[in-house]
Amino acid sequence: MRCDVVVVGAGPGGSMAAKTAAEKGLRVVLLEKRQEIGDPVRCAEGVSKARLSSMIKPDPKWIAAEVKGARLYAPDGSSIVMSEDKSGDEVGYVLERKIFDRALAMDAARAGAKVMVKTRALDLIRANGSVKGVRAMRYGEIIDIEADVVVGADGVESKVGRWAGIDTSLKPGDIEVCAQFLLYDKSIDDEYCEFFLGNELAPGGYVWSFPKGEKLANVGLGVIGSRSEPGAPVRLLRRFVERRMPEARIVEMVVGGVPVSGPIERTVADGVLLVGDAARQSDPITGGGILNAMEAGIMAGEVVADAVSSGDTGVEGLMAYEKRWRESIGKQIARHLDLKEFFIRLSDEDLNNLMHSIQSEDVSKMDLRGMLRVLIRLNPKMLWELRHLVM
């Protein structure tokens, strides 16, 4: 089989790349190793309304709930409220990703991409030293798919980058390991996303509750890998739920890892580029990665179309992608990496003090950066090393 570009992985990043490239007239193959796109879910499903809507028209079919904002709790229970439009890229809509991911893949198919499920990429094919497509296993048979460019959109477990010589392996401090229950409980706030901080609750991470309507919510937590132990996320989550919502009815379980390494050294190789979690483009502070993956996917699709039409699909031809994402989403990812490195070191007492210092301020109209600016003004000594982030 021959095409212009083969995209490995039909998550949000891969489907947007495939759709964009197909719209530009390329022959696109989109591979997904699972037999059902989007399932099992590895996500809390929160996204900002404005940023999502700038890329795709919101469809009630894949929106589980809309929220008014976010409530943030310090370890001692003190809290602040942030409005939806300022709460960052994870607050706004809570999606139904099983439907959302499939809808994005369908959009790619409608644009002309050939979608192949239950098809797992096994390795890159090379000819005369250049990448010439991927070898895959489809329904148990080995097939070769020849292409000028391979887009690695294969998520946290990404192999495409490694096959191309880019070491994407995550060290323990580069990953948040997570567990989540979809649960029904009377205590769920249907209108707000909630975030609970604390080293006892979730070392180097946080607990979240993202409502999905009628007292249903994704309640989960992430632990920084360097402070985790075998099975810790599931254990800590069970403890949280047993203590705070002993009557909860758990109807689904999710586990997973989110890259929080920040930008990796390169995301482009000869005939290969990486998008989304595969490129470690998820946000180091929130763990949100859907929107960055989609934006990177669009950029990748556009650059690949240019590269194929100019005939330069080597590193040079694809370099525009690397430049574009670093200058856009990459800036925030890099800033948030510094923030993460700082915040995972804070004790519960530090977190409480920070929360108390800001409680008397009106933060409801501030975004993360504005809030940080206020926090630094109020706690200059403690937050001195972060001041470059708000300049």
């Binding site: 797992r120 946290v156 990953i175 390991v177 099975g231 890892g257 890259p259």
Partner: protein, 59 residues
């Protein structure tokens, strides 16, 4: 040797992403371990469900 308790594993792929030598692979709902494993233990530490263990090879 790395062993996977399939009854515990949630097939999330986190272990695959952290393995420094690409010795793991997630195939639909199970994890395969290749001979390349250097027994560094990283995947064991990071598995969110505790499905992995590093056991002394027999004999």
């Amino acid at each position: 040797m790395i062993t996977v308790n399939r009854y515990v594993c949630g097939y999330c792929g986190a272990c695959v992403g952290v393995c420094p030598v690409c010795a793991l692979e997630l195939v639909e709902t199970w994890i395969e371990v290749s001979d390349g494993c250097i027994e560094c233990g990283r995947c064991v530490k990071l598995c969110p469900t505790g499905a992995l263990s590093l056991e002394e090879a027999q004999g």
